[in-house]
Subunit: 338 residues, 2 copies
DNA sequence: TGAATGTGTGGAATCGATTCCACGGAATCG
DNA sequence: CGATTCCGTGGAATCGATTCCACACATTCA
């Protein structure tokens, strides 16, 4: 491997000068710079970023720990983070926690050992000792999509309260009587938040949300099927269901499609709505009512906030709004008024 | 920050001994090891992976450069790679080339500078001077999903020839007369391969594939719409179309959905089939015929091959088969025989 | 019992770059 | 015109860990 020493030798200068020439230091004569650059090119020199990072502080790398890479929402988030990071000259190391707190900790630890300049995390749990400790030690940290109560770090979240309220209003005014929710695990902040926004919205219409109408999935595809099946198994079944993320929605729709004869008709006897909008929702029949999150914006803002933090600029929490996309799956069929 | 020197001091030993104790070196007395471990725990010592990598060779990191992270196929691939890598104790740095050869080169360069132990690349182009050079220099490299003629590196590809042949047979025997293809850019090896398998399969039935029936998209969603629109714009339109990847299929279906009145009926007057199967294809009506790739297996094998290569074990190319999933979108409606 | 081998430990060299410091010469300033 | 600042450069220290080497001591073997 050719090192900077070799380049310096070939150019007839000291290693220190070669380094200055190649990293664009101000006080370098054009003549020397040209000689060094020529030598570097001739020797096909590739700087060793590991050595560089050791001496100078900073790796120009940020770590991203997401809770489930297979969920298209996080894919898009990761993509946005990667994009924004690259534009700022940073690389991204991605860790997939798979909704498992232990695996999340594993990645946080690894990434910190790798001396990432900062960390963007979608916390799988609301309380995490390791994240708490990292924030306390002054590691640069930004939380995204889900809050974490005990971690002292800024967060960027999608605030779905208004959209959820609007959705519930729509369900109630179109005559739905028995409204259920399939939400995520209680340990996830986003899950709790969506549930309470939902409950509050129902309360405004003086509707309670009985425990039997709250199902906790794990945010993964298969739990969408299972939990919907559970809801439909009783002898009194709901006439509307709100699914708290896209992956579980896929599972739920699959359940409906594979049990077409036994399952209630959508939207006639069952309204379906989803938190998180996916491109193919409008290709289904009926098309699927969904709440659209500002996914890419979340990723971009997370990176901006992290870079601010790294640069020592002040950073505060941020909430981005969501938009309700009313489609066929929550429509009362024509003429069936009550 | 606490360094190993501090731990050594606290434990009353030399840094070299501390290092041996913590890295599980064989000749260390249990007593000393215990003292060092206690000190490390007490000081909350976190080893600096950058420094470690500089001295010892290897970063236990592999680089993955994919051509388009938003394509669910690559998401799943990335997920599989990440999974297999983690199990082997490696981290993954992901770069997204966005189907742009320049961006691909950018990432390959960055990742090599970061001293990744190996590189898994989905090449955007069939010939890449930088990859060629990297392979020549002996950097560990594995290509996945698409071949690259001039790069001396092992590859893992999904071989769709049989499935494509089967599909074409099915289209021809169910009476389709005018069969078209929307493939990817010519620079992508996978695109060329799918096109030629398709052409060969037609040729067996003595069917030519006229230039007007071959549309080149860019593998992205929007080009699916545009190219299908172009096919349907002429005064003679095809009665079957094969879309060469999932993202373009999404665009194509969107086009059909938004032009429902003007567009031909599927499958009655237009059969639609896709290379790459996505979970929601069977939720559409009509459900979508697709060729399923062994996506996760591709990712796993790529990692295994890369690790073999790093360990100096011999590695050879691999081809994994695909499966045709016949669904409604290519079915002749009952009674409309010819 | 003497030689050979093995074990546990400390000190110093090392990985490859950046950066601090010093120094000579040029430019600037009062 | 002497003093100060600035510029360009080389040599050496440095980042934090691992690993080579040497040495003291214990063990094994012939």
């Amino acid at each position: 491997m050719t090192r900077i020493k070799d380049v310096a030798l070939a150019a007839g200068v000291a290693p220190s000068s070669a380094s200055r020439a190649l990293t664009g230091h101000p006080h370098v004569s054009p003549e020397l710079r040209a000689r060094v650059e020529a030598a570097a090119l001739r020797l096909n020199y590739r700087p060793n970023a590991v050595a560089r990072s050791l001496r100078s502080t900073g790796t120009r790398t940020i770590g991203l720990v997401v809770s489930d890479l297979l969920n298209p929402f996080f894919t898009e988030l990761a993509r946005a983070v990667e994009d924004a990071a690259r534009q700022a000259g940073f690389s991204v190391i991605v860790g997939n926690a798979d909704e498992d707190p232990a695996q999340q900790d594993h990645y946080v630890r690894i990434l910190l050992e790798r001396q990432v300049d900062g960390l963007i995390v979608v916390p799988t749990t609301e309380t995490s000792p390791l994240l708490h400790e990292a924030a306390r030690r002054g590691d640069h940290l930004v939380l995204v999509d889900r809050p974490a109560a005990d971690v002292d770090a800024p967060s960027v979240l999608a605030d779905g309260t208004d959209a959820i309220t609007e959705l519930v209003d729509h369900l109630v005014t179109t005559g739905r009587q028995d409204i259920a929710i399939i939400t995520g695990p209680d340990r996830a902040g986003s899950s709790k938040h969506r549930l309470s926004a939902f409950r509050d919205a129902l309360a405004r219409h003086a509707r309670p949300l009985p425990p039997a109408r709250v199902r906790h999935g794990d945010f993964r595809r298969s739990s969408g099927s299972t939990e919907l099946a559970a809801l439909l198994a009783g002898n009194s079944v709901p006439d509307a269901v709100f699914v708290a993320n896209g992956s579980m929605a896929l599972g739920a729709i699959e359940y409906l499609a594979t049990h077409r004869d036994a399952a209630p008709l959508v939207p006639e006897s069952l309204a379906v709505a989803v938190f998180d909008d996916l491109p193919w929702f409008s290709l289904l029949s009926p098309t699927l009512t969904a709440i659209e999150q500002p996914t890419a914006a979340l990723g971009r803002r997370a990176v901006e906030m992290l870079l601010d933090r790294i640069a020592g600029r002040p950073v505060s929490d941020e909430r981005l709004g969501c938009v309700l996309r009313l489609r066929e799956s929550t429509q009362r069929p024509r003429g069936v008024s009550r």
